[in-house]
Subunit: 247 residues, 2 copies
């Protein structure tokens, strides 16, 4: 497999799934993932709209949650049509393609998220991403069809030559998978619920998003995620118990 | 008027005319011309597929011949999916956009031709063009939907002089002072000493360095440092409560 996974979150129309598959294959991509497609799966309309890109539709994988869909990836970008007030770096598709190629050349597995036709990705979805892709279109008419958004991202991917120089030196960890990162989030949030930190309840969602954005921004390595989980356990006094159990 | 005219030669499906209009307006183009649309004109399906780009469809002009459609233009490029054996210069969409912008800046009126869905432009049509645009896609699957071909050409046009991203969003925190960051380190390390996490003593210096590197990398804001200190206090109090319960 090479090139980013294309992850459609709660896509509504089968036709758009099919034409997205077609846009992917046009640009040499074939890892299509669907999170809770509205009309179920398989979808005859998706297959007929794929016209020639059937294989991409047939091998698409369906997931119950965005977390499951990105579990094996180490770097995920989220597409948005309208500006969001989030602590994420915002890049155009061309820049995104160059960055994702650089990550892939270091052995990372990358992916791009696309939201439902009507409302786009939720802020909670975007929180799980490392950066946001915004297409610098006509400010007076930004509404892109789903497959056309997929096409622009995929087209920039195929047009981007692999980076001439391998990035080296500096900070180059073994990147963590999204599954490990989500495990860290769950662990932290469970303990923060236990100690009453995530209070009052109506503030909880935004507090959780802020913590996830903060932890996600650090580009943590596998080892660091393990260390942070140890820190959480240690502070919550589970660490000593576990050490005692081991001895 | 600015930007190339988009000329659809004998388009077959109204839906494709509508989605092409949408792709044009996404990229700031509005001069749509149709040569002998198969299903006549006006076309209700074109209008409904335009969703928001109605004006482009409503002001589209219909012509009996390609010659009439391009009569007022001085420079015309033809798109093809498959290579043609013609004495024409062949360029990719990015190069074409740069060239067409250069012509326009000298006062020329430019346009791009797109053929019918099933068979593309005829050789006679291409003969009327000054150059050929070929999209360098996956050689194993080059068949682009009409509106997606229009999108790529129009997208490269707008990207050749993109509207500026509105200055907002992105990650631009109030940066924390080093004193605050060191206060966070001291707080965390004191609590980790208290719960026995930084053990054994000969490992302590490298564990502390790893934690400090990790926290320093995230480029934390003042607010985030305060949040993290709250997290540490919350978890540490939880730990003390649990220890007290056990005793």
């Amino acid at each position: 497999v090479s090139g980013p996974a294309i992850i459609l979150v709660e896509p509504q129309l089968g036709e758009n799934i099919g034409t997205s598959a077609r846009a992917m294959l046009n640009c040499g991509l074939d890892d299509l993932r669907l999170v809770q497609p509205r009309d179920g799966w398989p979808n005859a309309k998706a297959l007929s709209a794929a016209s020639g890109a059937d294989r991409v539709v047939e091998t698409a994988r369906v997931f119950d949650s965005l977390g499951a869909a990105i579990a094996d990836l180490t770097r995920v970008y989220a597409t948005t049509a309208r500006p969001r007030d989030m602590d994420k770096s915002v890049v155009a598709p061309r820049e995104a393609a160059a960055q994702l190629r650089a990550f892939e050349s270091r052995g990372e597995r990358v992916g791009v998220l696309f939201g439902p036709e009507r409302r786009g990705l939720s802020n909670d979805d975007i929180t799980l991403a490392d950066a946001v892709i915004e297409v610098p279109l006509n400010p007076a008419y930004r509404s892109l069809n789903l497959a056309q958004a997929v096409l622009i991202v995929a087209y920039e991917w195929i047009m981007a030559a692999p980076p001439p120089l391998q990035p080296r030196g500096g900070y180059a960890p073994t990147p963590t998978t999204k599954a490990e990162l989500l495990g860290l989030f769950d662990h932290l949030e469970a303990e923060l619920d236990a100690c009453g930190f995530l209070f009052p309840p109506d503030k909880r969602p935004s507090m959780v998003r802020n913590l996830r954005n903060m932890l996600g921004r650090g580009n943590l390595s596998e080892q660091e995620v393990r260390t942070l989980r140890g820190v959480i356990s240690g502070l919550a006094n589970l660490g000593r118990t576990r050490r005692a159990d081991k001895e």
